[in-house]
């Protein structure tokens, strides 16, 4: 809680770094419009806003990636020009990006030394070890410098990234871009204690997030951005001594303006769990059945052991669990992207275990992947082609192998409109879409053409509140129309909000199944870390 931080004399201490009137435009978009930001030493400053609010642009200005069109930066009271990443680093501004940049085959120490451009090319190992020990103590990490980076948990890899950003002596500002987007609940707690240590060390930390509760929990100050402008600033005094609900309501109003009222529900899901009253749907026959599914694990993938599940038409079944406990493997086994070592997948009573992806799709099965850039879309191809990626060669989009461009474009335009995918044209490359819009595109593609069973793997991962709620609405609507939905998610609140039943996976096994009812979160939480006790 922010309230736990000591009460520094606010306002009196001059800020470490000031961004004044930063304006940055891109063709057609004002990404930052006269943005002011004051950073104080020993504080975590949360930068909160929806996707597209201008958070990334602002920190790219501070880290020397972008040159602002207007505005000034003052550092320790002096005006400075940060016109290159190097200039930022020399001022002691380190950045940890959302995506990991470690070389997995190298050791932690080697990764850290990669980042430092030490003059002569000779590697000063003993100095590097000393620096590692120093930072390890500061951050409170528990891995050795010799550990292989690829073998660390994601949270630990992030800690290495933070060490990398602080590697140069004299770091003063640390920028964390969406640091929680890939963390488990445990990793989140670790991050919180790391932030505590950085604070004590007197660093200024900028924490970028689109999640409201994170901004409140982790930040000492919160700046709220909307459409490129600062629409709110909460000082430590504002943050202390108020209930979280009151704060949430205030910030939601800042983030979304007048539209906030109609978004009430969505925001509550984001801000805290609200058990949903279950409506008993008319359940039809069993749509998807999985029996004793097993898969051998490898170096990277976790194995899957004896997974059973059953979904009826019209039902939404959730799969809870900490990321990387076999959920993705189960999704891929159901979709036909992998072959199981043992077990069966049945669609409407028919054994499809030996059939390929296309044959299963023909029987009404769809798979919304959690890796929307890595396998969901082909970035180089245009939006329209991506909507028919799973129908290549089929009429009406192809006849006798020849592409029929108008049919494809018409289909794509229909989907883009229905799912509100923001794109200037269906002919532009999918790479230009933002993450939320790619997710909508995937959803549009998989829900088109009357699917009967859909596996949604982390369908709202990394989306802003509004888009996430839109995605959940689409799933609800489809289920109401008779779809059997399997929703994999790491956010328990989301599953509680959405599902009729929730099964929990841990270490590749189903550790339990619960009906969605009041107080279900605690049971799920317990099952998430459980080893399957009764198991084989």
């Amino acid at each position: 809680m922010a309230a736990e931080t000591d009460s520094r004399a606010e306002g009196q201490a001059s800020p470490l770094c000031e961004l004044l009137g930063i304006t940055k435009t891109f063709p057609g978009v004002v990404a930052n419009d006269r943005v002011d930001l004051k950073l104080h030493a020993g504080e975590v400053h949360a930068l909160l806003g929806e996707n597209g609010a201008g958070k990334s642009t602002l920190i790219n200005v501070l880290s020397g990636m972008y040159r602002p069109d207007a505005g000034a930066i003052r550092f320790e009271g002096r005006p400075v020009r940060i016109d290159s990443p190097r200039a930022a680093i020399e001022l002691g501004i380190g950045t940890v990006y959302q995506h990991l940049t470690l070389v997995p085959t190298l050791s932690v120490l080697e990764n850290l030394m990669l980042g430092s451009h030490g003059g002569t090319g000779r590697l000063d190992l003993s100095a590097a070890r000393a620096r590692f020990a120093e930072l390890a103590g500061l951050l409170g990490v528990d891995f050795t410098p010799g550990a292989r980076a690829g073998g660390l948990a994601l949270g630990q890899q992030q800690q290495v990234e933070i060490m990398k950003a602080l590697w140069r002596q004299g770091s003063q500002i640390l920028i964390l871009d969406e640091p929680t987007s890939m963390l488990t609940p445990q990793g989140y707690e670790e991050l919180r204690s790391v932030l505590e240590n950085l604070r004590a060390e007197g660093l200024a930390v900028i924490l970028i997030t689109h999640k409201l509760h994170e901004a409140i929990e982790l930040g000492d100050r919160v700046t709220v951005l909307r459409a490129g402008r600062v629409v709110g600033l909460l000082s430590p005094r504002d943050l202390r001594g108020r209930g979280e609900e009151e704060l949430s309501a205030r910030i939601v109003e800042m983030m979304f303006g007048e539209e906030a009222a109609e978004l009430g529900d969505a925001v509550e899901v984001e801000a805290g769990p609200v058990p949903r009253k279950l409506t008993r749907r008319e359940l039809a026959g069993v749509a998807l059945q999985v029996r004793g599914l097993a898969l051998d694990g490898g170096d990277e993938a976790v194995g899957v052991n004896d997974v059973d599940l059953e979904i009826r038409s019209g039902e939404i079944v959730g799969v809870a669990g900490v990321d990387g406990n076999g959920q993705r493997e189960v999704a891929e086994l159901i979709a036909g992207q992998r072959s199981p070592r043992a077990g069966k997948v049945l669609l409407f009573g028919e054994d499809v275990t030996r059939l390929g992806v296309r044959e299963r799709e023909r029987r009404g099965l769809r798979h919304v992947t959690d890796d929307r850039h890595g396998e969901g879309t082909v970035a180089e191809l245009d939006v329209a082609t991506n909507t028919v990626l799973k129908r290549i060669g089929t009429p009406p989009f192809w006849r006798a192998g020849a592409e029929r461009r108008e049919e494809i474009d018409r289909f794509a335009r229909g989907l883009v409109e229905r799912f509100d995918v923001r794109t200037p044209s269906v002919r532009i490359r999918a790479a230009t879409l933002s993450g939320g819009n790619v997710q909508k595109l995937l959803l549009a593609r998989e829900l088109a053409g009357e699917p009967r069973v859909v596996v949604f793997n982390k369908p709202t991962h990394g989306l802003d509140v509004r888009t996430a709620e839109f995605v959940r609405d689409q799933i609800r609507e489809a289920a109401a129309a008779g779809l059997a939905a399997l929703v994999i998610s790491t956010e328990i609140e989301e599953l509680v909000d959405l599902c009729d039943r929730i099964i929990v996976m841990s270490r590749g096994e189903v550790t339990g199944a619960v009906e969605n009812a009041a107080g279900v979160e605690e049971r799920i939480g317990a099952l998430m870390v459980a080893r399957s006790g009764s198991g084989s």
């Binding site: 950045t95 992207q337 799709e361 799973k390």
Partner: protein, 382 residues
């Protein structure tokens, strides 16, 4: 309209600058060798392009190169590195040269031409099957396997030519010569033979296949994102096999065009290394078939004209390789600078860039936050 003119201007600039740079650097070399570069270049373009005879030679030279380009594009677009073009080409050529004389005696000209073309294509295609299966089924790096198969192919071609296909006539080991009248027929009273028409048809067909058909799209998806291909239910193993065999078949066919269009017979140790020349060309054309067509013909002009000009200036024709190499090098450099700029790293001053920037779009555009350029992010985090 203006944007389009700008793009066209830029494209011309990108094509012209490396050629001019290469001519200048090579010119310095010519001066150092005591030759007049202006005379040399005038000769080169005269004999390769403007003189009717020379132009026909250039076109004839381009025929096998175009077929190889077509074959490479199919594989490269699927991100399959068929680097065994020379082996596929020579194997096709040796089989055609060895079998054509007896087929000619037995069946006559047209059946011989058709059958030898089929044999060359089959041989080239078959030569890729082992790398294709190894890559598709077991993930073995095809760069290594196609190169190894290329060595084997070159060896087998020479074993055939020096053994069973060897003619009785003395001198260098070679196959029987197919008489000039019984090779590919010439087009419209020129010296250009049917092989060129086949090559142009092939590269256009590849263009249509890659851009307008479901097979082409499947191959492109496989090439651009193999995981997406798997996710979308494509069959990577089968597609790998298809791409490789089409690639090898087109390259094998180029062997028959070279033998029955130009050489007439296969002399031992014949190896023009066309594959190595064409690889950078298709890359510079961004694996676009039409672009490759233009580039290949342009380079044929320079090769033919340059060889002739070198003879005239009494210097070795190796100079042409220097010139061609310089052009490829400068093209690659200019291309790199272009890509860099595409990634948001300007090499023009801000003020100029400001003026070049198109007017901002219509109102009501989505307030999407433009993500930092991919390259910029990577560079910064290093």
């Amino acid at each position: 309209m203006r944007a389009r003119a700008l793009r066209l201007g830029e494209a011309t600039l990108v094509a012209a600058v490396p050629i001019v740079l290469a001519l200048v650097v090579n010119g310095v070399l010519l001066v150092a060798l005591g030759r007049d570069p202006f005379t040399f270049y005038a000769d080169m373009f005269e004999r390769g392009l403007f003189a009717w005879e020379g132009f026909q030679e250039s076109i004839i030279r381009s025929a096998p190169l175009l077929l190889i380009a077509a074959g490479l594009i199919v594989a490269f677009r699927a991100n399959l590195w068929n680097l065994g073009a020379d082996g596929q080409f020579l194997l096709g050529a040796a089989l055609v040269a060895g079998l054509a004389p007896s087929l000619l005696d037995a069946l006559g000209v047209w059946p011989m031409l058709l059958i030898t073309m089929a044999i060359a294509a089959l041989a080239g295609g078959a030569w890729t099957i082992i790398p294709a299966i190894l890559r598709g089924r077991y993930g073995v790096n095809e760069i290594i396997t196609t190169l190894m198969m290329s060595f084997i192919g070159i060896g087998v071609a020479n074993v055939l030519v020096k053994g069973p296909f060897k003619t009785d006539i003395g001198g260098v080991a070679r196959t029987d010569v197919v008489p000039f009248d019984e090779r590919f027929p010439l087009l419209f009273g020129t010296r250009i033979h049917l092989g060129f028409a086949i090559a142009v048809a092939a590269i256009l067909a590849v263009h249509v296949m890659m851009t307008r058909t479901s097979l082409g799209l499947r191959l492109r998806v496989l090439g651009a994102n193999p995981r997406a291909a798997l996710h979308a239910g494509l069959r990577p193993v089968r597609l790998t096999l298809i791409a490789f065999t089409i690639s090898g078949a087109l390259i094998g066919l180029s062997g028959s065009v070279e033998i029955l269009g130009v050489q007439g017979s296969f002399r031992a140790d014949f190896n023009p290394a066309y594959g190595l020349l064409v690889i950078p060309l298709v890359f510079l054309a961004r694996l676009n078939a039409i672009g490759s067509l233009v580039l290949v013909i342009a380079f044929s002009v320079i090769q033919i004209g340059g060889e002739s000009a070198a003879r005239e200036a009494d210097i070795t024709s190796d100079l042409v390789f220097v010139l061609v190499g310089l052009m490829l090098l400068f093209m690659a450099v200019i291309e790199y600078l272009r890509v860099r700029r595409g990634l948001g790293m300007r090499f023009v001053p801000d003020e100029v860039a400001e003026r070049l920037r198109p007017p901002t779009g219509e109102g009501g555009a989505p307030a999407g936050e433009p993500e930092p350029a991919i390259g910029a992010g990577k560079v910064g985090s290093r």
